[in-house]
Amino acid sequence: MQIDWFTFSAQIINFLILLLLLRKFLYGPVLNVMKNREEEITSRLEEARLKLLEAEEKAAAYQDKLNQFEEQKDEWTEKARQEAETYRKELLESARTEVEQTQAKWLRKMETEQETFLKEIEKRSIDNIIDIAETIVTELANQSLEQQALERCVEKLKKMDPAEKERIQVSANGSIEVITAFPVDEKGRREIDDIIQRVFSEKVTCNFKIMPELGFGIEIRSGGWKLGWSMKTYMDELRSHLKAIFDVSEVSLKQ
């Protein structure tokens, strides 16, 4: 067991050569690769850390926005509720106005119809009453009734106020229109002429006319002035009274 010095020297050289070769072919590349991988991993970790920070910042920003949204949500809800309430009130008001307008229109129409109906009733009632009265009077009228009407008219003329007589005379301008329902005979005419001339003046002449619508009686007309006693006069008065009664009833109905 001894050392072979040639082998000893050769082994030292071999070891040094092996050290150099492995350094070139193994350690250098492997260590470089590992170092590069470490750097890559470190850079990726750093990148991940930065991204994490960025993500945390974004998360915080979104959380802030979410909080703001939560805060504003109640406000918006209240605003929307108020708007809805206002809109509801507007709609209700509009509907109420529309209903009121429709109701008013309907009432007006009702009133109009009622008025028309009442007027129609009034007109028909008056017409019927007048017709009945006219029929009665016409059927009962005769020369003697006419004569009585004439006498009544003459009494009226006689009782006339002198100032009024003067005014009629002036407006008559010499001619007075005498209207009767039945034809007046010559005697009757002379008598009327005589009475007229006595009441007014001898210069006044009578112009006789027949108007069956009078029913019976006599009317004396001159320049817008009228005096007489006839069924038509009574009927007109009756019509006025009835109309007044109906108008009063109508007013009380409306109230």
Partner: protein
Amino acid sequence: MEINIDQIIYWEWGFFKLNATLLFSWLIMLLLVAGAWLLKRDLTPGRKMSRWQALLESLVVIIKQQIEEATQEKADKYFPFISTLFLFIVISNVIGVVPGAYSPTASLSTTAALASCVFVAVPVFGVMTRGARNYFRYYLQPTPLMLPFNIIGEFSRTLALAIRLFGNIMSGSLIVAILLSLSPLLFPVLMQAFGLLIGVIQAYVFAILALVYIASAAGIHNGSTSASIT
């Protein structure tokens, strides 16, 4: 059965000779360099890598961790020397199980050469790290009277390195050879397996001791531990 494989000579020319130690050392070197070249070809810095690269990187990481644990500093400076020692010795030790092959570390010349490399590397790393004056002042500690003992300590631990490795590997080969002549097949196979374990452990012990010597010389451990570990 040759006890000294330096005596197995295949070719000789004057002072130069090709014995089993050198032949198998070259074969191991060739194996290591070829393997390194093959691995280097497929090295990739990405996350997808071959199994061999993963194995190699795991080995590198383990060696670096061992160095960093022992030196308490970055392993880059010591890594090539220590890992070359370990790889060469571990392959040399386990190649002995191949029939017809001889472990170069079963030769005292090889182990002495490797121990001598450590012997030289210790002051080289010490001077590089601490400076020549600081390093050589260590030999005068604690008193100048200790100079001869410190020098003897340096030589003796180098000798111990060489003899330990040589003795373990040579004895393992010798025991298997003796058992082959005495007992049936099974028991020597067991001893061969055991020899593999011994080989790996001895490679580890050699590399770690070399590391500790270098680290102590570099002032990592305040220069007090190296003399006690032999």
